[in-house]
Subunit: 198 residues, 2 copies
């Protein structure tokens, strides 16, 4: 038994769950996609729920890596520019897919956070990482005089990340990049009153 | 066969789907909750998907009724106050439930709009009604000098409704009213720069 097998199950499972949702993704489909027998699955995960919780942890690590390495590192650009580059990058990612499947963690939160306390507990720190990374970027932007914030960086960041999640629902409904472009326009030009553009 | 039976299937189905999602709600559970035999279900709906599409139509009518009767009618209050009362009302509704199940139409959009073109087609006009109703309210607010809008009422309304949907995901993750209160704060005090409070 190898960590490689465990990771393959999680990666293939993540792909299926992102498209079909957690409940609608059968164990058989996960086994088939990751090419492992049932016994092997149960060697790594004691149940489908345990697999789902590990999926949240894996996605959480990927998200933390993306948010923190992009927003909380040293960079040359202005912080507001950096933040806009970040959302621009994911706008391009999410709109270039065959299907507008949106944010894997937002999808799981929508499906499971209300009805399953274990998932809610596991999802909460993932959202916190997103909020904190954007807050750290906004805090720099404010300190450097790039933007005036009327609310705290933390509050503004939380609103921005939540609004992004909502824009990703609208991406699915419209099947166009418009909601994400509108998100950028309103957030950067109005809320943050940041003058520069990409 | 009566329209009452059809409505009971839709109402009970809506309750189950809001909690468990569309894919995870089995036909048996719908039959049991609405107390109809399978043959009766298939008399009204030719498939579970057909039932789901009718569910979107029913929810769309309820949403159109709520948004339009609250935001597009004659009222005494200022338009920005009226809009805040509206979101305040639903904030109280959504946070007073046993489980933070969020918006029935936002949930369906998240689950189905990307992967099912029929659902996407049916969901799109429901979102348009939400956008248009808020836009009509914002347009009055601007014309009455209650707020200055830098973007069009339509763009601002679309951003607000999408952000609301995102705040409802965060409601599930935090199991608290905080994301909805933050939504109101940032939208009314910053984006619309509306001075009055409820």
């Amino acid at each position: 038994m190898s960590t490689e097998t465990r990771e393959r199950i999680l990666e293939e499972g993540a792909r299926l769950v992102r498209e079909h949702g957690f409940a609608a993704t059968g164990l058989d489909a996960i086994l088939k996609a990751s090419k492992v027998p049932k016994g092997s699955f149960y060697y790594y995960f004691k149940s489908k729920e345990a697999f789902g919780l590990e999926l949240v942890t894996m996605l959480g690590e990927q998200i933390a890596n993306a948010f923190q390495s992009f927003l909380c590192c040293e960079y040359e650009e202005k912080s507001t520019t950096r933040l806009r580059m970040f959302f621009d990058y994911f706008k391009d990612e999410f709109t270039s897919e065959d299907l507008p499947l949106g944010c894997p963690i937002g999808n799981l939160a929508q499906e499971l956070a209300a009805v399953n306390g274990e998932f809610r507990k596991r999802l909460k720190p993932v959202f916190s990482v997103m909020y904190d990374s954007v807050a750290c970027c906004l805090s720099r932007a404010r300190d450097n005089g790039e933007t005036e914030l009327n609310s705290s960086p933390e509050e503004t960041a939380t609103f921005i990340v939540n609004s992004w999640q909502g824009a990703l629902i609208a991406l699915k409904v419209t099947d166009s990049s418009e909601p994400l472009m509108l998100f950028e326009k309103l957030v950067f030009e109005e809320l943050l009153q940041s003058k520069e553009k990409l």
